[in-house]
Symmetry: C2
Subunit: 241 residues, 2 copies
């Protein structure tokens, strides 16, 4: 019987590469939150036949870099983003997902504090934040990539405090609650939400208040990273909202 298993050995390496070599890319769905809705960072695609459609940021993976390095390079060089939260979502491998050649892509999503981020756009002039709901009819299979990433973010935020990566260092509890409501598409009870935060020691009262609002200013808080680390270590942490 034919042995379908291919062994990579010196003698047939060149032949193997010719036969099996394919292109691998990373695509990163960058989420931002502007205090009213969840946004995705996109670019106008300039590859036929998708010219004019939106695309998320991505690039081919170089032969000398890991996925992690590739995605960091894309975030840094193409969006000026450093040290931001990111997570692998899944692999997209349809044969026809790229019109020019077979390109396997690994999707990631990232979370950006949109207030602290000015669009860095050295390479091109059309980086743009769009609403999740606008992420339709995108280039390649990027609509599916955005959908899968959004779903992953929704799942993740229910069990880990990743949402803080979308807010400024100092935030009000209402801002935090609205973030959850927007991402999950649900409404939450203010008192229950706050009690849960307090029970978990997840936020620290900074003793400061808002100073630019025309009504009673809200207290400002920050995420209690140390407390979260401790809770993770001893026993399990639950943040299912």
């Amino acid at each position: 019987m034919y042995d379908p298993h291919i062994e990579i050995v010196e003698s047939n390496l060149k032949e193997i590469k010719k036969t099996f070599g394919c292109l691998v890319s990373v695509d990163c769905v960058i989420f931002g939150y502007d205090h009213s809705s969840l946004k995705v960072l996109v670019i106008n695609c300039n590859q036929e036949p998708f010219v004019g459609k939106y695309s998320v940021l991505g690039d081919l993976v170089h032969t000398h870099e890991t996925m992690d390095e590739a995605i960091k390079r894309v975030l840094s060089q193409r969006a000026g983003l450093e040290d931001i939260y990111m997570e692998e979502v899944k692999v997209f491998s349809s044969l026809d997902r790229h019109p020019m050649d077979r390109v396997i892509t690994i999707a990631y999503y990232s979370l950006v504090k949109i207030d602290e981020y000015k669009l860095v756009d050295a390479q091109n002039k059309d980086l743009k934040w769009i609403e999740i709901s606008e992420a339709k009819d995108m280039a390649f299979d990027h609509e599916a990539i955005v959908k899968a990433s959004h779903k992953r973010l929704q799942d993740r935020i229910k069990e880990k405090p990743v949402g803080f990566n979308l807010l400024p260092e100092k935030f009000t509890l209402n801002q935090l609650q609205l973030l959850y409501e927007n991402i999950l598409g649900i409404t939450l009870d203010k008192r229950n939400f706050r009690r849960k935060l307090n029970n978990n020691n997840l936020v620290i009262d900074l003793g400061e208040v808002q100073d630019d609002v025309s009504h009673r200013p809200a207290k400002l808080y920050k995420f209690d990273f140390d407390s979260y680390q401790k809770m993770k270590k001893r026993g399990q942490f639950s943040f299912i909202i």
Copy 2:
């Protein structure tokens, strides 16, 4: 400024493939459960410098197949497995993970009803079930791949009833409980475990009993797939043990 973004267009496709083409493989961690412990299906590696070490089943992805097709091909051709549960785990992309060339691999795990599976080994003579604890010092980075897959299974089984894929169609409640205890490495309370199953309508009493035991025979149950589907549809399903 240098634009690091590579566009794949007809004119430079060949050059791009030469520069960026790399090898992609799938590796599948196949879990089985033999009524006492969780097992992994491995093979003796025959590639230097790992000859004699264990490896999980994997293969290069062909240019004309998706990941899904590749993993199904590996499961079918190399282990005779068809239509089994599987899930993508994550990408492994260290530059030195394969000694011969840069190979990016996508790890999957699968669940097999070990009782109903006779080792099909047409291609080679050394398919073997080993204990999780024996999955050390494996070929390539397969120890890390097994660890990550095991962790994923542990996470998944807490929220979805995937464990039934490891048991025969008919099983006793004690067998089910032991499965959970073995996979999670914890002990569970018998009465609480059973109450939760009943509350969720997850199992159906078949009205049959064991007939090969030298003590009071236990009732046999099967997984209630329809009930699970209904529960998933209306509202959320929780199976956190």
